[in-house]
Symmetry: C2
Subunit: 302 residues, 2 copies
């Protein structure tokens, strides 16, 4: 099953001429999930030929503009493009009124229903689930309430080998019992794990943006296949990072090390850095398997 | 004195990958006025190297998103860039609450004061004045309250020829009287208009967006040096234009003809047109001196 992250923007609050604020699209077997939605996200979606209407759910980490100012425009365009399918928005509670006042001002009644799921800022709280993924909250440490998200593939029920079903002439009830984990004596042969297909382990993407260094999240992001962690500043700006409730490269790397991430992606770059490689190189001195979040680039999990 | 219009975006509601929604910057002798502010305007300002902080006043025609969704981000960035100078926003009254709810959500108190001037939707109502320009309202005919704007250079007091001041040894009181239009007998010579410098006529820019064809505005936009008029559709889509409260190319041209515009600039293109030249050519069949509003292009007045 496909599980990838495309970066649409990875800058922090001040946009530059050629770098957009935060937004990412997760593609889980052709279902799309949008994570944060800074200004210009819909332009980036178009540039990258992502079909708007395939977005099933949108996750907004917090109500600083560089993470949500593009949402109202995207919702409006979905409406103009005649979306009818419902949309889930996982967000801080205050977002609903912000959207509604703008729909009212424009005399707009959306063609499609929005299902708001308000965030409980508590580590491990379940925020969302569907038939493909489950999403849990991370309580981050920022100037206002801010959530991280852990996206985990759902465990699949193991399948019985097709050939075993034929060989042992298994009934539906027997198949169900085997899937539950029972064993079965069939014509003198003990059947169990030995006739189950291998189930791939579930993959995990942890998204950690806008936070001071926060060790409390570690148990909840352990062994992520990919950890996105903000690294707004170089480590020389540690004091500024602390003051503005952000992280440095080496703090992001430390979280990756402690949580045993398989790979680290850094982002949320301050506009002061024209050359992002300095951020990458510094992070790599502590956590080797690091990549830069770059606009328009897709990162595959596992 | 410089008087020019730079187009930052000229698309209608649905943005395309390479065309932004409506926004323009007027440059009147290096004071900047922003007219509408669709999503991505701050990105376009950066791309075109327009200094944000030189913007003195912002005019928002109406509360459809393609004309104001970029405003909150721009105001926020001005704050982050430490603006202190006050900013005037001429807008429909509802905009203030839309901005405030978002500042509150982000726990943001701006470093600079905003002076809101709410629009009275009445033809010819004065909306704004400073030492360079005066702006009057046009009442347009759209789905929600929508204003056009007429920007006129202020009349300058005529100056007396410097050589005449010396030749006739004019006193301050005599100069004032002459400037008022009095005549004066000085040593047997009648002085009046004959010693005044030529005053350039005041230039006029009329901005007409999002409206059904509306003849009532004509007396208020007459003889514009440049008329920006929306032309969302080709004339073959006349019925759709009427239904959506927009204009076609030939309707824009008719307004330009009737109001004796010196030049017409069309814009607010529907996303359906990849090739804008078809819109331009059709408009020119009725009003020859027409140009397309093109992103990043500057149009000088007079």
């Amino acid at each position: 099953m496909k599980f990838s992250v495309m970066v649409l923007g990875a800058n922090s609050a001040i946009p530059t001429a050629n770098r957009f604020p935060t937004s990412q699209v997760l593609n889980v077997n052709e279902t799309y999930y949008l994570v944060d939605c800074g200004e210009g996200t819909q332009i980036q979606l178009r540039k990258n030929k992502i079909k708007f209407q395939r977005i099933t759910a949108i996750f907004i980490s917090h109500l600083h503009g560089d993470h949500y100012f593009g949402l109202i425009g995207l919702l409006n365009t979905m409406h103009l493009l005649k979306r009818e399918k419902h949309l889930t928005i996982v967000c801080p509670e205050g977002l609903k009124a912000i959207l509604q006042i703008q729909f009212d001002a424009g005399n707009t009644t959306l063609n499609y229903p929005i299902n708001f799921q308000f965030i409980t800022f508590e580590n491990g709280a379940q925020a969302y689930t569907d038939n493909k993924i489950t999403v849990e909250i991370l309580k981050l440490n920022h100037r206002i309430n801010c959530a991280g998200f852990v996206f985990t593939e759902n465990k699949k029920e193991p399948n019985i080998n097709k050939s075993a079903v034929a060989d042992y002439q298994l009934t539906t009830d027997e198949i169900k019992a085997l899937k539950r984990g029972d064993t079965l004596n069939k014509n003198g042969v003990v059947l169990g794990d030995n006739i189950l297909d291998v189930v791939h382990t579930t993959r995990k993407y942890a998204y950690v943006t806008d936070t001071k260094k926060n060790l409390k999240i570690i148990p909840f992001i352990e062994n992520a296949d990919l950890l996105y962690h903000e690294a707004t500043f170089l480590d020389s700006e540690k004091l500024l990072a602390k003051k503005t409730f952000h992280c440095t490269t080496l703090q992001a790397a430390d979280i990756a090390n402690r949580s045993k991430a398989k790979q680290l992606m850094i982002g949320h770059y301050s506009a002061r850095y024209n050359d992002l490689d300095v951020l990458l190189e510094e992070t790599k001195t502590s956590f080797q398997n690091t990549v830069l979040a770059l606009e328009g680039k897709t990162y595959e999990l596992g």
